[in-house]
């Protein structure tokens, strides 16, 4: 919680925080619109980050939905500056929780036939495997290929390095906000980020040349 304390001190006590202290823990229409704008701004990127970490579309939708609900339910009365680190902290907690559960499931049920099937190993919908008759643009192909390599490289990062890189580089959070979202010190964020860059540089070197 030290990250949020420093974030709050930096942002100052907003009027909404004061009203929360008075027990007026409710949202008016303008605040709901503000929350709508915030969620609309982060939902796509959050989904892609979750999809990249979990490699499962349904799981990614689930963790994003839970993060949205938790933010709206428990933290909507916080200041707007706090929403982004809070949202991503909830999101990464959900991702870690799902990864842990999948790990346990693999450990106990991995010997069952078909238990180790993964979305990127086996296509979930046979219709999606049917080639499109329309010619695919080269640009689209290049983007898909680049994203596939980035996805793969990101997925191979340790969890904390993935969080540091996705928050700092892909989401554009500064070091303090990233530390708040990861619930660690700023020095730890820098260390994880540096190691993530090193790992990605090695992983993507061949692809980019």
């Amino acid at each position: 919680m030290q990250g949020f304390a420093s974030l709050e001190a930096r942002a100052g006590r907003s009027a909404r925080n004061v009203s929360r202290d008075r027990g007026e823990d409710r949202l008016d229409a303008a605040q709901v619109r503000e929350l709508d704008r915030f969620l609309a701004g982060v939902e796509r990127r959050a989904f892609r980050i979750a999809q990249c970490a979990l490699r499962d579309t349904d799981d990614a939708h689930d963790v994003v939905q839970v993060a949205m609900l938790r933010l709206a339910q428990s933290y909507a009365s916080r200041s707007v500056e706090e929403w982004k680190p809070l949202f991503y902290r909830i999101l990464y907690n959900g991702i870690r929780d799902l990864q842990r559960r999948h790990g346990v499931r693999r450990r106990f049920f991995g010997w069952l036939p078909g238990a180790s099937r993964h979305e990127d190993e086996v296509g979930e919908d046979p219709l999606e495997q049917v080639p499109d008759s329309a010619p695919e643009p080269l640009q689209q192909l290049a983007t898909d290929e680049a994203m596939r390599h980035l996805d793969h490289a990101l997925h191979r990062l340790p969890a904390r390095q993935f969080e540091a890189f996705s928050l700092r580089c892909l989401e554009g959070l500064d070091v303090a906000a990233t530390a708040a979202a990861m619930d660690c010190s700023e020095g730890t964020v820098k260390t994880h980020y540096f190691r993530a860059l090193q790992a990605l540089r090695a992983e993507l070197a061949e692809v980019r040349t």
């Binding site: 709901v32 939902e43 796509r44 989904f47 892609r48 709206a72 339910q73 909507a76 680049a146 994203m147």
Partner: protein
């Protein structure tokens, strides 16, 4: 400040990752966007619902407390006594202007005892008065 080769590599890597990631975000299909939109609407509904619940709670708390107090008072006044009659009836039954009905006389055993004592005096007097007379029946 001149950038070192590693720094240039890192900057290039960051730019590349950002561009590729942003392109993949921009290319999300309609079904995914629709599902994300539904999730967002649900979250907003929760926020709005919680807001309304909070308003109701603060406004209706004193009203609820008052209603509960009135209900408790009514229940206490109508609490049955040992004789089975409501406390309100038992309290007012001793006043002279309230006449008990036949059912209440039957139910109240003490009243029947009092009536029997009065009748005993009457029957004793009738017996004394009629002791020397023959009724002529046989």
């Amino acid at each position: 400040m001149r950038l070192q080769p590693d720094d240039r590599d890192d900057a290039e890597l960051e730019r590349h990752a950002r561009n590729v990631f942003q392109a993949s975000v921009d290319e999300l299909d309609a079904a995914t966007l629709s599902r994300l939109n539904r999730s967002r609407q649900q979250a907003l509904a929760v926020a709005e619902g919680r807001s309304r619940t909070g308003w109701r709670w603060t406004v209706w708390t004193p009203v609820g407390a008052l209603a509960a107090g009135v209900l408790a008072a009514v229940l206490l006044l109508n609490l049955p006594t040992e004789t089975g009659a409501p406390a309100q009836v038992a309290a007012t039954a001793t006043s002279a202007d309230v006449q008990p009905g036949p059912l209440e006389l039957l139910v109240a055993g003490e009243d029947l005892d009092l009536a029997a004592e009065a009748d005993l005096e009457f029957y004793a007097w009738v017996e004394l008065e009629t002791a020397g007379y023959d009724d002529g029946v046989g």
